[in-house]
């Protein structure tokens, strides 16, 4: 019982480790692969026995049927537009607020910061109805404003930027800027922004991804087909009236997932580093 086997674990333990991790990895990737398999086979392939597991050549045929039924490209462009505007605005406002919380002294600072953190724990659904009413009063129902404006700055981004700025930006640099007579905004753009570029990258990918993937709120406020985001367009494809044409549905799903997959694989290092540095330290 004592002094268990020194440093070198048993070969069986080692095999079990790798087996477990490998199964986990396969389960993680398989649905992506399978999306493409079903998307590239004939329409009934999802329910063939034994299952199809090889890629075929009908992808564009299937995707063509999806294009007939939804305004796929319009929805994709809508999503690109909404996600880009939200991301730009979140980066701007969250970094300004994070900078203020990290480097400025002002009254009620601690209280206000904890207030920001507290809002993280309020469920979104609690405010759905009145927000809908506000949007109706503003005549913003079925416009992009309804999706973009409430998302323009968020508590998570502020928290995250504050954590990053307080460790990465040295106060002496800011003081040196002050002594040179630079104004507050000038110090921000010339001194702070260049230092926090990595934080911008990570928060940017995060925000873009979350906005791109959001379903509930856009689904509530966007009514017209030409205003749909890509997620709503996908959901609309899922109808029994086509006898559940999984070839069509999954070819479109694959096309809608591909952009994010590419972005993620290119920036995965930053992304995971950001996730782990910002999420928990409190």
């Amino acid at each position: 019982m004592r002094r268990a086997r020194g440093d070198q674990p048993h070969i069986i333990t080692k095999i079990c480790f790798y087996l477990f991790l490998a199964i986990g990895a396969v389960i993680s990737i398989f649905p992506f692969y399978w999306m493409f398999v079903i998307g590239s086979n004939e329409r009934g392939a999802a329910s063939r026995i034994p299952p199809v597991i090889t890629i075929s050549d009908r992808f564009f045929e299937n995707f063509g049927r999806a294009l007939d039924r939804t305004e796929f490209w319009t929805a994709l462009l809508n999503s690109v537009f909404i996600s880009s505007v939200v991301t730009f605005s979140v980066l701007l406002f969250c970094s300004l607020a994070g900078y203020a919380f990290a480097k400025y002294q002002f009254r009620f600072k601690t209280f206000l910061f904890f207030f920001v953190l507290g809002t993280l724990f309020v469920p979104q659904q609690l405010s759905v109805l009145p927000t809908y009413v506000i949007m109706a009063k503003l005549h913003w129902i079925d416009t992009y404003n309804a999706v973009i404006v409430p998302a323009m700055v968020n508590a998570f981004g502020i928290f995250w930027m504050r954590q990053y700025i307080s460790t990465a930006v040295h106060t002496e640099l800011i003081e040196a800027g002050r002594i040179d007579g630079a104004g507050h905004l000038r110090i921000f753009t010339r001194v702070v922004v260049p230092i926090i570029t990595p934080a911008y990258a990570t928060l940017g990918i995060f925000t873009f991804m979350n906005t791109w993937n959001d379903f509930f709120w856009p689904f509530v406020v966007l009514k017209d087909r030409s205003h749909y985001t890509i997620q709503i367009a996908l959901q609309q494809l899922f109808h029994t009236r086509d006898g559940l044409d999984y070839g069509m549905i999954l070819s479109a799903t694959f096309m809608a997932t591909l952009p994010l997959l590419i972005v993620f694989l290119l920036f995965s290092r930053w992304f995971i580093a950001g996730l782990t540095s910002g999420a928990v330290k409190s």
């Binding site: 019982m1 607020a97 206000l112 609690l126 997932t257």
Partner: protein, 317 residues
């Protein structure tokens, strides 16, 4: 010289109408104001209005009519609400408890010194989290279709096929698995960063004292990981009580706007009351009840996860 000039050198020169330190705090308030303005309009006001609305009968168009606690009574006496409540609880428990345990195991394995390809594995485990919930639901609904792959695997293994699309357990299991697939990797990464923050000399000291691997896990790893565990438990609790998209997309396929009994959740109930039936008052009451449940379950789960790894007061969150 630099050191002699104070950072916010106010007080001295009163040439401008604002002292430097006042100007500095004004700037700070300006920088943080967008959040507070937006939160006031789209966060605070709606919450207060929801609570107010829950005492009225309203269809979003006509005049409001005071109901007292009638909306709450109506919701609490509606069997569909309780179905949605228990569905939410059952799906949450099935989707998150095994998920967090699995994530913890994966993280411990990934962190162990003998594992290679760590970086690649991290990326692969995290990949499910970047797919949208709608996409996950569509892919899984194909996997879980009646003659789909999962039932074929069951058939090969000699297990009876499960009716994933309308069975009472089948629907819930299918939804729970979608949640697990999308979030296990995320939690693995969070736990992994927690594990990496534990100083290695603690392990070495324990090893010298003759502690077994299992003892080390119980008395060093788990207690030091506690803040991370509480964080994930809290996020999972809040997230799964708000479950909407997976069941809504998964069961809404038939073109009917309502969701069937096996998969209706509290937020779907809320959504149907408001946007399906125009009962904004009862929907608001449901939202308030949902908030109360969220607080209760968060507190219970925080309390439970603080017990993990003994009751020694380590991290004080």
């Amino acid at each position: 010289m630099p050191q002699t000039v104070p950072a916010s050198a106010g007080k001295v020169h009163k040439t401008s109408w604002l002292t430097e330190s006042k100007r500095s705090s004004l700037t700070a308030y300006l920088f943080i104001s967008p959040f507070f303005v937006l939160f006031a309009i789209f966060g605070l006001y709606p919450i207060l209005f929801t609570i107010y609305l829950s005492f009225f009968k309203w269809d979003a168009l006509g005049p409001m009519q005071y109901m007292g606690l009638k909306n709450y009574e109506f919701v609490m006496e509606d069997p569909v609400f309780w179905t949605s409540f228990f569905n939410t609880l059952i799906i949450s428990a099935m989707g998150t408890i095994p998920q967090l345990i699995l994530a913890l195991l994966l993280a411990v394995f990934l962190n162990s010194a003998i594992t290679r390809f760590k970086k690649t594995l991290r990326v692969l485990f995290f990949m499910p989290n970047i797919t949208s919930i709608v996409a996950v639901t569509l892919v899984f609904s194909a996997l879980f279709s009646n003659n789909g792959m999962v039932n074929w695997v069951f058939d090969v293994l000699g297990v009876d096929p499960i009716n994933w699309n309308s069975g009472w357990w089948g629907v819930k299991l299918a939804i729970a698995m979608m949640i697990m697939w999308r979030w296990t990797g995320y939690n693995t990464i969070i736990y992994l960063s927690g594990l990496q923050s534990i100083p290695t000399d603690l392990y070495e000291a324990a090893r010298i004292d003759g502690a077994s691997r299992f003892q080390i896990l119980l008395s060093i790893t788990l207690p030091l990981l506690r803040p991370f565990i509480i964080f994930t438990v809290l996020l999972s609790t809040i997230g799964s009580l708000q479950l909407f998209t997976e069941p809504y997309v998964y069961l809404g396929q038939s073109g009917t706007s309502s969701t069937r009994e096996e998969g209706i959740t509290m937020v779907i109930y809320l959504y149907t009351e408001a946007f399906g039936n125009s009962f904004f008052g009862t929907a608001a009451a449901t939202a308030v009840i949902l908030l109360i449940f969220t607080i209760i379950f968060s507190l219970i789960n925080i309390w439970a996860s603080r017990k993990i790894g003994g009751s020694s007061d380590g991290g004080a969150i």
